[in-house]
């Protein structure tokens, strides 16, 4: 029987799952460090150069891209990476990124949002401080009036309410508005109280009688008369003409004709005092919203505030930790309604800060937050301020972790012995004393009504907490309307999830609080904050306001006991990947967002395997690698399924698996474990166009393709260094690490000594790049006979002694075909010749071996290009003298095929497998076909 030619002209990638005798020709059992990017071509992958050494970073976890810059999360900081030198510039603003965890990120409104262990952080530029996303809600708000000022906007026998909020115009001109404070009201009752005062008159001069009125009014004050009885009563607004101890007069235009009684009052000017959030800077502004006045000092104030004032926070106010605003704004200048008014969005849609989330994504202009947790919160109430229970010098302490803050009750400003930062004159609630203790005003019930005393004390305590820059929490006074007085909320300032506890100094003072506080942090029933962890919840922001997340903007997804693993935005939907399957959120606005289950059988086994590619979500699941979209999911890894079924049950599969998408190369790269390994040691590489799998060896903890240069950056897992894909589009791309050095003594035209001080050995098949001539030369042999190694090169060297050189280490690429049987596996064959055809003349050397049914491997055959055969026309100039050109070749080029005979001990068998290894630095290897010459024996021979 004549020789037959078996040619594999179309490489199909790894195929190890199926019966190896039934896979199509072009299947491979090994395809290491290659890509099947071009249809049917096996191509060496590009290499990676060290960008930032492992020693430069501390616990690097995540790579981020923002504004074309590369950032690395390390040492609980976000550091900008110089992609040329690898130098790091850490941005100010620390955060917590747990080792082994990824900081998910999303871009919106020109900012980058990063989900960290202590909440969502925000980058507004490549160099600005990293901030906590969102604006803190308005804190305490006190409204007072000055009894000596009897003019202003607050009408007599009326009331007014205020809310304040903070905002900030970020670096990208986004106006970020926080949630407003609780509404605080101030009433202005008749000066005569609930009982009308009597009046008399002499012609047009009206005299009003009220004991002690001289303390309330002065001559020329404007006084409002209302509800006067009698004939032709003197209702209206008049000017006080005279005041004596127990009466005052005013002149009316039309004299009453009888005496009677009346109410009188004066205008007031509200004075607002509100605390600044501890993180507020002069970049913040504040807005004051004033309600309409209901017309009665005892009527309920409508929550219909309109903007009356906005101003930037001043540095003095930052220092003082509070702002005082005197409301003299005329009603005519009331501006926009507060967005939380019932006529607007409603208070339920306050712009709360984003919750803690394990993942974030932008979909339909809204920022989505998955697997969330709220701020740590603790509701408390002061139930008594009786002096016997709660007295001056009593205190409470708030403890979070190793931080304990003390708040001491005082019945007056601590002028004696106070050694805090501020003097006694300017003492306020924000300044701790020398011991770090803060003070709050205890209003005992002996000085006012019980309700007022409780309210004042509770508010004062909140104020003291809010102005303590080291406090772990803020205080919000809650009681309003008919609610039980004295209630307040303590809420943590960060989303780190660390609970805080509260105690009083004695059991007696502890009884002033509800729930009952312990007197010790180590004994008794502890009163501790908690947060709401919603592992199946998705929260979302208002459209185009990624930092405004109303509490009602949430969708529970699937079972409450199954956590959200990832949320990923596609073009028309948001895919929610949960432990109980795949869900999809559709809609185009907060009011239309709804969730549906997409697939309950696909369970993602590694959160970091999730990556978006070609508008589909790729992930490692219980069914191998799948691509999911809002239309469904498709298994992609059938050809190598056995490799995945062996690892998906491993306990550390989630921590050892990471993935990245490479759109321009159409690759999904999955770094994970080999079946017989317990740590990541292989990267599965899937080309979405050719649907071919190969493997790479450079496993990673995280990786990213930077859009600004379209290069792959890799954070290694074995060595936590940052490496950068070589992508100069020339031969230098096909090498791993490189080292700088120089030439030394030139021995012969083909050999020389080198001077490199590097941590690795110089080996055969390393290549030397000579930048001055742009040529590269391969080390063929090394001789150490004379002590100093002499390196012999493939081509005559182009450099002279002391020239600057760069040494490149090779990438080892290997392929092994699936068994080739000539169509009949039962029949013996003689395989005689093996030919590898290249697309271009870039591979200079290969190692070829074979295996068959009787032998696992043959001896290696070293194949190399024959230079002398390429000296004619048709080959690049420069390929023979001084080294090869570094220019890449992208089309078919005259090239020697690699041709060899199958070794004698392996040439006879029922099948054959060829293994080809290329391991020469700085040269590509593009294989277009593999072919065998073979002859089938007579069937008799086989049986």
């Amino acid at each position: 029987m004549p020789l037959q030619q078996i040619t594999i002209a179309s490489a199909l990638g790894l195929n190890v799952q199926a019966n190896s005798f039934s896979v199509p020709d072009g299947s491979f059992e090994q395809a290491e460090n290659v890509v099947f990017a071009n249809d049917g071509i096996i191509r060496k992958r590009r290499g990676f150069s060290t960008l930032t050494a492992a020693a430069t970073m501390t616990n690097p976890t995540t790579l981020l891209e923002y504004l074309g810059f590369l950032f690395v999360c390390q040492n609980n900081l976000i550091s900008r990476v110089n992609t040329s030198t690898g130098a790091l510039t850490s941005l100010s603003g620390a955060m917590t990124i747990n080792a082994g965890s990824k900081a998910r990120s999303a871009k919106a409104n020109g900012n980058l949002y990063v989900a960290t262990a202590d909440g969502v952080r925000k980058l507004e530029s490549s160099s600005a401080t990293v901030l906590q996303a969102g604006i803190p809600r308005g804190l305490d708000l006190d409204i007072s009036t000055n009894s000596a000022v009897r003019t202003g906007v607050l009408k007599p026998n009326d009331a007014v309410g205020y809310r304040v909020l903070f905002g900030r115009l970020d670096a990208n001109s986004n106006k970020v508005i926080g949630a407003p404070s609780e509404i605080s009201t101030r009433s202005n009752a008749w000066l005569n109280g609930v009982t009308q005062a009597s009046y008399t008159f002499v012609t047009t001069t009206v005299t009003v009688n009220l004991t002690g009125v001289s303390a309330l009014l002065s001559v020329s004050d404007t006084v409002v008369i209302s509800g006067a009885t009698g004939t032709n009563p003197p209702n209206g607004t008049w000017t006080v003409a005279s005041v004596v101890a127990n009466s005052f007069t005013f002149v009316v235009t039309s004299a009453p004709t009888s005496t009677g009684t009346l109410n009188f009052g004066v205008f007031r000017t509200p004075i607002l005092e509100f605390s600044l959030p501890s993180e507020a800077t002069t970049e913040y502004f504040y807005q004051v919203y004033r309600t309409t006045q209901p017309g009665s000092s005892i009527a309920t104030v409508s929550d219909d505030g309109q903007l009356i004032f906005q101003a930037n926070v001043l540095s003095a106010q930052v220092t003082a930790k509070f702002i005082t605003f005197t409301d003299t704004i005329n009603e005519l200048f009331k501006d926009a309604s507060l967005y939380t008014n019932s006529s607007q969005e409603g208070i339920a849609k306050s712009n709360l800060r984003p919750p803690f989330a394990t993942d974030i994504a932008v979909f339909q202009d809204c920022m989505f937050f998955g697997n969330t947790a709220s701020f740590q919160s603790l509701n408390l109430a002061i139930v008594t301020v009786a002096a016997a229970t709660f007295a001056a010098a009593d205190f409470i302490e708030i403890k979070q972790g190793a931080t304990t803050r003390r708040y001491i009750a005082t019945t007056s400003a601590p002028t004696a012995g106070f050694t805090g930062v501020s003097s006694a004159v300017t003492w306020n609630f924000g300044y701790p004393d020398a011991s770090g203790f803060s003070y709050f005003q205890l209003t005992n019930s002996t000085s006012t009504t019980i309700s007022s005393a409780i309210t004042a004390t509770a508010k004062s305590l909140c104020k003291a907490i809010n102005r303590d820059s080291s406090s772990p929490c803020n205080g919000y006074y809650l009681s309003s309307g008919d609610a039980l007085l004295g209630q307040f909320l303590l809420q943590s300032r960060t989303l780190a999830g660390v609970a805080f506890s509260v105690r009083a100094n004695t059991d007696t003072s502890a009884s002033a609080f509800s729930p009952l506080l312990p007197a010790s942090f180590s004994a008794g029933t502890q009163v501790t904050s908690n947060n709401s962890t919603e592992q199946n919840a998705v929260y979302f922001s208002k459209p185009q306001q990624p930092e405004a997340v109303p509490g009602v903007y949430t969708i529970p997804v699937g079972a409450k006991t199954s956590a959200i693993i990832r949320i990923v935005a596609l073009r028309d939907s948001l895919l929610v990947i949960k432990a109980d399957g795949l869900f999809v959120i559709r809609g185009n606005s907060p009011s239309t967002f709804s969730v549906q289950q997409l697939d309950s059988t696909i369970i993602c086994v590694a959160a970091d395997s999730v990556s978006v590619l070609n508008n589909s979500v790729y992930m490692l699941s219980n069914q191998g690698v799948v691509a999911a979209s809002d239309a469904g999911a498709q298994v992609l890894s059938r050809n190598i399924e056995t490799l995945f079924t062996a690892i998906i049950g491993k306990s550390n599969i989630a921590t050892e698996t990471n993935a990245v998408s490479y759109e321009s190369e159409r690759l999904y790269l999955l770094s994970t474990m080999n079946p017989n390994s317990n740590s990541a040691d292989v990267v599965y590489c899937f080309n979405t166009v050719t649907s071919a799998w190969s493997t790479w060896t450079n496993t990673f903890n995280d990786s990213i393709v930077l859009s600004s240069d379209d290069k792959l950056y890799v954070l290694g897992n074995v060595i936590a260094e940052l490496t950068k894909e070589r992508k100069l589009q020339n031969r230098l791309d096909f090498a791993e690490k490189s080292f700088a050095g120089s030439s030394a003594i030139i021995i012969t035209p083909l050999s020389c000594e080198l001077s490199f001080t590097i941590p690795v050995a110089i080996e055969v098949n390393d290549s030397i790049f000579h930048a001055a001539t742009g040529t590269i030369n391969q080390i063929l042999s090394i001789s150490s006979a004379t002590g100093t190694p002499i390196y012999t090169f493939r081509n005559p060297v182009s450099w002279i002694a002391l020239d600057v050189l760069e040494l490149f280490k090779p990438i080892r690429s290997a392929i092994k075909t699936s068994p080739l049987t000539l169509g009949d596996v039962s029949r013996w064959k003689q395989f005689s010749e093996f030919i590898i055809s290249f697309r271009n003349r870039t591979a200079s050397a290969l190692t070829i071996s074979f295996s068959n049914d009787s032998s696992g491997t043959s001896i290696d055959t070293a194949w190399s290009q024959n230079n002398s055969a390429q000296s004619g026309w048709g080959f690049e100039w420069g390929s023979l003298w001084g080294g090869d050109s570094i220019n890449s070749v992208l089309t078919t080029q005259a090239s020697q095929p690699a041709r060899t005979y199958v070794p004698v001990l392996i040439c006879r068998g029922t099948f054959i497998q060829g293994t080809v290894v290329h391991s020469v630095a700085a040269e590509s290897c593009e294989i277009q076909s593999l072919s065998y010459s073979a002859r089938a024996y007579s069937p008799r021979v086989s049986k």
């Binding site: 020789l3 005689s832 010749e833 055959t861």
Partner: protein, 306 residues
């Protein structure tokens, strides 16, 4: 043609890949040896042109009847046996072993009258009773096994007084105590001298107990029974290469190629025969009647008639 050239010719002939482990160079040279022995030597010997004949002289030992056939004699055959006694040469006729008894009682001093074979020995009769003569045995020597040229050394100088030769490079295969052959470097590539033991090596100088007189600069020194050049006429080299190519194609299972190559081998062999025989082209061959009346002198015929 040396072995490097032979290998290049073989590889060129059927385009053997430059890098392969199916057939090593050693494999190919071994195949060449096989083809030499099984194809070329029979052809060469069939022409009876005395190509490979050489002589070995063995002193007779008193009362010793058996002398071994030279170790390298092809087929354990001899071409001619002659008794050398002083200046006289007595051609020893081959007698039938059955006739040997006729010579048992004839013992002259140190002489013999004929010979026959007994196993691998030449038996001379009658057995000499003294050691006064020698036996010259002419035989056709085997071609040595081909070896890489790197295993042999080219003689660059000869120092007869010092009993050493200078070589271009001393191969690792030649060490003190190694028995070597001298191979003709010029065309013909005959085995000049055999079985010389190296006594010392100093730099590029290789010493022997004594040097043969037949060697010249350009000749090869090679370990005994090996040769870096083909010990056959130049015209046979391409036939040998072709024969090896056939073996390679056969080994590869390329029967189509084998058929074509075999055809070419036949053609080359025919051409070779016309080149090699007759060895003398002009003179007429003289037929000598050894038993004729005029050729019956004492010295020439005494053995026949004893």
């Amino acid at each position: 043609m040396n072995t490097t050239e032979l290998l290049a010719s073989i590889k060129r002939g059927i385009a053997v890949p430059a890098n392969q482990n199916r057939f090593t160079d050693v494999d190919m040279l071994a195949l060449a040896d096989e083809e030499t022995q099984t194809k070329l030597l029979p052809v060469l010997l069939s022409m009876r042109q005395e190509y490979l004949v050489r002589a070995a002289t063995v002193p007779l030992v008193a009362l010793q009847r058996a002398y071994p056939v030279p170790a390298r004699a092809i087929g354990r055959t001899v071409r001619q046996v002659t008794l050398l006694q002083g200046a006289n040469r007595f051609l020893q006729p081959y007698i039938q072993p059955e006739d040997s008894n006729r010579y048992l009682n004839v013992q002259t001093t140190g002489t013999s009258s004929g010979f026959f074979f007994e196993g691998d020995n030449i038996i001379i009769v009658p057995t000499p009773n003294s050691a006064t003569a020698s036996l010259e045995v002419k035989y056709e020597i085997q071609c040595s096994s081909l070896t890489d040229v790197a295993n042999a050394a080219v003689i660059t100088a000869i120092n007869t007084a010092g009993n050493f030769i200078t070589v271009s490079a001393v191969p690792s295969t030649i060490i003190v105590g190694r028995v070597c052959d001298f191979i003709q470097g010029a065309f013909g590539n005959a085995i000049l001298e055999i079985d010389f033991t190296v006594t010392n090596i100093s730099g590029l100088n290789i010493f022997f107990a004594a040097l043969p007189t037949s060697i010249a600069v350009g000749d090869w020194l090679s370990p005994a029974t090996t040769t870096p050049v083909i010990n056959l006429p130049r015209e046979m080299h391409q036939v040998l290469a072709q024969a090896v190519e056939c073996r390679l194609l056969e080994g590869l299972g390329d029967f189509e190629g084998l058929q074509a190559s075999g055809q070419k081998l036949t053609e080359k062999t025919q051409a070779m025969l016309t080149l090699l025989s007759p060895r003398q082209k002009g003179a007429q061959q003289k037929i000598v009647n050894h038993n004729g009346f005029l050729n019956r002198g004492y010295n020439r015929s005494r053995n026949r008639w004893n």
